[in-house]
Amino acid sequence: MITLLLILFPLVASALVMFSGRDSNVRRNALIASLAEFFLSLASLFGFQNTGIPEHSFSFPWITNLGISFHFAMDGLSLLLVLLTTFLIPVIILASSGCKSKRLNIFFGLILIMEASFIGVFTAQDGFIFYIFWELALIPAYFITALWGGADRIKITFKFFIYTLTGSLLMLAALIYLYFQTPNPHSSEFTELFKVGISGNAQILVFLAFFIAFAIKIPIIPFHTWQPDTYTTAPAAGSMILAGIMLKMGIYGLIRLLLPICYPLMSEIAVPLIGIVIAGLIYASIIAFRQEDLKRFTAYVSIAHVGLISAGVLSLNEIALNGAVFQMIAHGINIVGLFIVIEIIESKFGIRYMNNLGGISRVLPSLSIFLMILVLGSVALPLTNGFIGEFMILLGLFQVKPLLALFAGTTIIFGVVYMLRMFQKVMYGSLPENLKSRNVKMFKEETAALIPLVILVILMGCYPKPFLDLAGPSIKTIQDLVLTIPK
């Protein structure tokens, strides 16, 4: 029941926010609603057994003769991602304090719709329901970028749209195919889809369809070119949601659907596939070396980081999978933090080009501390959240094939190269003359949005246990499931 409530509540709240008119309290109302949602999701931890089997189940027959039902439930993996979503949304709303755009009621309403769709995706237990919420999440994302975006937004949104549409249609085709492979009466329940056990060419096609759909979302190179453009042009809150939460749908899809359905094929091609993903992450890192636009820079950093997460998932190794899930959460926190810092810098100085910035640590010392902690999390310094995940992923990759860990491991070197370059250009040195006249100081909301993030960066790094424990049994279940599939 609580699962359904978690999906419905933001939808209702969204309607209220949208129709509450354009008064100045819109942001506050949206914040209160999202906070309530966060506490609601925390409440679902009570009585949560975490056995690895979905709990808090809710099922309502929808199209009975087709065997499609609104079936939602959460295992530890789902719950962890739901918590990430409900935690990040209020932070993102809080951080949009500088947002002075028009029609804020629609803007925040759309964000709440997205929240509901994400939770739908993360808790769906039925293939078509998963697909519907997957699509539902895209519509607000599309509107937010197209209506509140920056330069070139129509062209870029179109690119984003073509990409995601292609992916979605492929996924739909694969789902329909699988659906018809289930024994009569057909059912699109996950558990039924997993039992199908396809092989041969069909498996290759299904694998490609799902993989491309998820790879576009994550994005895995070469399906990535929509992402730097979209992150750059989308309004700050949009980039945060896309990078912090929405791309996790893709990785979640890899774990939840692709692993159980295509395991035999994947275990055969794991090493070359991971090789390609790792080549992509090195490629993105090298591009990040020379980016000047902070948003575009962060986009490539994100590609590099999620490349490592994807490699961890594709390795099918238990340690790497657990690390990848942990890293999904860490990445969500770090990347949203980075975007918030960029938004603060842009709103106060009017620029986001590194070359024209500098010396900000003198005028905003607290911002430089926040950014430093986020940078340390991103470069995976021990005792920050990034380390646990990257360590586990690399260790898992090593156990699959040592050479993979060697190449993927270069990320810890590249990471410091591009992150410290960015930090130095933005924070150190001296403030350019034309920015000196500005009287800048941090707003309370900005500080309030960053503090929980940096606390989590350190907390998760020092005490990863609750996060690892929550996802552990679900991953074990998935592993057990895939191991029973005959090759």
Binding site: E135, L376, S430
Partner: protein, 632 residues
Amino acid sequence: MNIVWLIPLFPLIGFLVAGLLYRYIPEKITGWFVSGMVLLSFIISSIVLVKLINGGSPENIVLTNWINSGKLVLPFEFYVDQLTSLMLMIITGVGFLIHIYSIGYMHGDEGFNRFFSYMNLFIFFMTILVLGGNYLIMFIGWEGVGLCSYLLIGFWNRNNEYNNAARKAFIMNRIGDLGFLLAMFMIFSKFDSLTYNVVFSKALLIPGGSLFITTVTLSLFIGATGKSAQIPLLTWLPDAMAGPTPVSALIHAATMVTAGVYMVARSNILYTLAPFTMTVVIITGLATALVAGAIALFQNDIKKVLAYSTISQLGLMFMGLGVGAFSAAMFHLTTHAFFKALLFLAAGSIIHALGKEQDIRNMGGLKYKTPWTFLVFLTGALAISGIPPLTGFFSKDEILAEVFVHSPLLWGFGVLVSVMTAMYIFRVFWLAFSGEFRGNKVIKDAIFESPRNMLFPMIVLAFLAAFAAIPIELKYTGSNSLSLFLEPVFKESNKLFHKGETLPAMPNIILMAVTFLIICMVIYFSYSSFVRKKHIPAPDTVSRKGMIKLAFNKFYIDEIYNLMIVRPIERLSDFFIRFSEPRIFDVIIEFIGRVVLTAGSKIRLLQTGNVGFYLFAMVVSIIIVLLFNILR
């Protein structure tokens, strides 16, 4: 021994207090509070040491399960044995003295509180590094000290050259850290544990010289070359001199850079089982010692000379490790911590007195102006040159003696390193303290001796650098009391090495005498050149020739790295941005887009509005599902 967790806790508190309340606490309180925290750690370290001396046995203390996921169980544990205890004494002892010194040195700096919070954070990570009971905990400290080093090198961050130096240090260290990480993966995949006791006892069951042990130790050694600035990852340390001088003394001389030596000594069993790696360690150590020593001979920045000297001395320690002289290397690490910290603090005192002047060509005659600094620098110089009965003599001799047993040729090179050491340090000494002041008149009148809180730590260190070896060497019956103390740590390795064939007393004394005489001659020649003939190094603009040119320009190592690694990667990055992103990937996608568009153009809704089409596509897809069922 269950109080050992207090040792890192105190500096952590110091860091948090100074770091979080930096705006509110006055400089005086921060300085003494934070130094007090290190003193408390020192006191507890002393208690631990006394317990161990009185026959306490090493302990493994599991604090909590840190990373625990399925088969992966990595506890947060401490291991306290004689080696740890020795390192703790150095870190907290020398650390405390340098904290006190910094109160004077950093007085009035706008970032005073920030400086002290970083310093305490460093002590925290450094103690974690040596306390760790498994490789992962060591790695926490290992990377943490790298962070502090980064923060402190770039402490005066208005200057972008300093920032670049800081970044370079972090990056080069990270290259080494990847080696460390991979070694951990190998160890864990083989032994299912990273805990020292488990790893070492399981390693002893593996035949020596196996590929596995060799790869593990080589990977770990790559980590050591990063942290301890050995070839090929040595160029960050001279640049690191951009940091305030107390930082150079503490981090880049006495403690952090010796972490590589500590790590190899800690892993002595693994290294002993890998003869090939040991050879690599010897060659790397020797080559680094010679190259850095040669560069130091021709540098004119007092801190740069000391930096290259540190690299060279670390090379000597690695040479010792490579021949299996683990306790001799640790002995030299200890004495080096004293005299090198002392030399840096004395250099800092000069720099402080001369208003940030670091070029020895602009010094001279300082023995009258700063008599205390003169005395302590002389002590340090004599100690590092290996003049008996100062500490450097004993520790260096012990390494050289064991090297001689291994190979007389290597011993010859080792003596060459010692000769260079005496040459460069006395070059600095004569140029700075004797003769006439060569700098500008305004500075000359303003020269003053450092305040008492700076002198006190220097004098304490001078005593240690001068006399610390005497109680250790007093019962000279084959092995000194330090190596007796450390014996349990290296017991297994010594067994494997079939040690016991130490050099007999007589040849050892001859070797000592030979080295001693050579060094005395070197000092005399240096005296006649720089004092009697008043030789002053040429200005930078004078062109140099041959080997001198190479050494003066640091063998162009940085330039080579720039040309071979940095530039190509930057080019590649530009190529990706300008070509492959827009011309390859975008084109592929545009093609796919066109295919989709052509398919979609039949619907004709695209032209009127994308959103509409999108919604339509979604509805259509749902309808398709429904239709499928009816059609069947």
